[in-house]
Symmetry: C2
């Protein structure tokens, strides 16, 4: 990874220079938290800590960065030297990745010399915000799909390829089974999955010819896209292959009246005893579709969820903030209308009733379960995903639906 | 930049292998176009071509990528060798970056050997889609701000840092004057801009002390954030600095009743003759706010537009597709419900009336103004931005508002 040092706002650096000039280099605590949950979210899933830690390792001001900063004519030479030598000896008090959290609960708290804790603000926000947005979106598909397979198909409409990569990671954390993003497969070991595009079907003179050609190329991976011309006809052609002894694993439907088509396609296969052929649905799918289609009894085995997942289209951002809460042991807070903050480093205490989350209290920092001083090694991606799924079993049922429910968080 | 070769879906590669196995390596044309404009967009601004070309230069399958692909057990060895030697000798028929376009108009058309034109699908879509989304969002702020300064403040909530970087580029194309993203400043030469955060004000015992400390550090860049405690009081403290001969360039207001506060703050400065002090407003601003505030007569000189710009929150994605339209000179199209495509490589002819866009026709390809074979060098970012601003002068007035108006596009 290239240097991440300029993934920041100029004001982080002007403030840092000025802090040093005025002797403000004491111990500060900054807190990253979400003020209010979006209207379409009952809970959030903390995500991005590993990405953040890797990015901070590359937070180095080298020649290119310093030459550019000097060219701006804003910074003093001694400050550029300070940046060149910068060591981020900061302490992080964090929720584990995969922790379910709510409003006003600190996800990441950064403690250390004021200029250093300030300088990383933009990077901390950028990374934790995005992966948290996506993990929190993905888990909604997980809850509505009730055990069906979920594959991230979002790379092509993700916001940049890094957005696609980190989004694949975050969707996996949020309960997805795989991705169509090969880079995510290589970098994170996430299972990859793919079928075929309409272009493949169109390049052959007949749809059936295309299906047979694909089966010849990949006899163990015959997953056929059947909606290029007529979905029901497409299913009948897939059936012909099955009757010829070709092992069609599944079919993909990307358009049309999904519940109706799925029922008809299912019947075509079932009538001939091919009950194992899977039906995968894609094409602008989100958790609202999944919920509606399954409640209508549509026989769907798997969903390719793409655009609306990786853009988190119904809640593309969080009201997240990285705020100074403590300096040299003294409380810090602001009073801007609608943007009040709470002072001090914090712990979150989660109360349970009959094994389910009951309510949370946010208290002055003490040792506890939810927020700990960061230590290495970090958990693996699989462990993070399992942590999410375990907590879902502790989540009150009403929070698991797509209907808005507020969870109680008391801030001391 | 690292290899971009795995920024793709597995199916691009399985299809490519199968195409070659079945002798389907003839000349194909794929077309990237938007089927329908989002409800909140009257026109779109093509963006991302330079980023795409740079990414394609790095579309190389090296040892890491090939080792990973081999580990999947899907691909034949001869195909992995093909990928290692892959040369993307493709032709691109494109709209210049910064071209205003509408539904069913091809932005990028890729012509060449079928497997090669197929393999780059995901990368083409990912890059052009995102930058087009952001440029098309940014230009709405440009149109409503009517000459006031616009700065991209979105990095912290952009979808990944690459999203922030490319988003800064695309906002500049869409008429923004600068960004708070230092990396974008370094890489693209976009003017950078920053003020101070609430933490800076909070770290001093008194707000006025903070203002004076900042002025001492950066006497030529005194831009003060005045809403940490009480905005009007904050303005009065800024006034004290002005009366002491400190050149306060401007103040930033990040919360509260914006039109009301701006009027009061303006009055405080104007009454004492400091008419040059700028008022910059930030905090969840978008074009709807800008339009409303300015129509209420709020005296605002500049806007910091962030979260809603770089997530394009009211239209975070486009109904964009990359479709096979021609193979070996023959037309290709599909008939999926709601997702029909038009065959052949295309040209767009724009008709004008009294110097304004009247309607467009999408015809079979012939030489023309809007779509040309890609040639180098590409225009500079400033030239692209100027192209956008020039076309805005040719855009019918009704298309420039935030009210939905449909532009006529005839497809032959």
């Amino acid at each position: 990874m290239e240097s991440t040092a300029l993934i920041t706002d100029p004001y982080e650096l002007t403030m840092a220079q000025s802090y040093i000039e005025h002797g403000k280099t004491g111990r500060a605590v900054f807190s990253l938290f979400v003020r209010r949950l979006p209207e379409n979210r009952n809970f959030l899933v903390a995500c991005g800590l590993e990405t953040l830690m890797k990015s901070l390792e590359n937070f180095k001001f080298g020649d290119d960065q310093l030459k550019y900063l000097k060219s701006l004519g804003i910074f003093k030479d001694w400050f550029l030297d300070y940046l060149r030598e910068l060591e981020l000896d900061l302490e992080f008090y964090v929720m584990d990745e995969g922790t379910i959290f709510f409003q006003n609960e600190p996800i990441v708290q950064v403690e250390g010399s004021l200029p250093k804790a300030q300088i990383i603000e933009t990077l901390v926000m950028n990374i934790i915000h995005f992966e948290t947005v996506i993990a929190s979106k993905a888990v909604r598909s997980y809850l509505t799909a009730k055990g069906r397979t979920l594959v991230d198909f979002g790379l092509r409409r993700a916001h940049s390829f890094t957005g696609g990569l980190l989004g694949a990671r975050a969707s996996y954390v949020g309960g997805f089974n795989g991705t169509s993003n090969l880079q995510a497969g290589m970098m994170y070991g996430i299972p990859v999955f793919g079928t075929m595009a309409h272009s493949y079907v169109m390049i052959f003179d007949e749809e059936e010819e295309a299906f047979r050609a694909f089966a010849k190329s990949f006899p163990e991976r015959v997953f056929l896209l059947i909606d290029t011309y007529d979905t029901v006809e497409g299913a009948r052609k897939a059936l012909k292959l099955l009757k010829d002894g070709i092992r069609v694993i599944g079919v993909r439907i990307d358009s049309g009246d999904i519940p109706e088509l799925c029922r008809e396609v299912r019947r075509i296969f079932d009538e001939e005893g091919f009950r194992d052929v899977k039906i995968l649905v894609s094409g602008g799918v989100d958790e609202y579709d999944i919920d509606r289609w399954l409640s209508e009894g549509a026989p769907i085995d798997a969903f390719g969820v793409g655009t609306k997942l990786l853009t988190s289209s119904d809640a593309p951002y969080l009201d997240i903030a990285y705020k100074l809460v403590e300096y040299e042991g003294k409380p810090k807070f602001k009073e801007s209308p609608g943007k009040k903050t709470f002072p001090y480093k914090r712990q979150v205490i989660r109360y349970y009733e009959k094994g389910k989350f009951s309510y949370d209290r946010v208290v002055k920092y003490e040792e506890g379960e939810l927020i700990k001083k960061l230590s290495f090694p970090l958990p693996t991606l699989k462990e993070i995903r399992e942590k999410v799924l375990h907590q879902l079993s502790q989540l009150p049922e009403e929070l698991k639906t797509l209907k808005k429910v507020d969870y109680r968080v008391e801030v001391e």
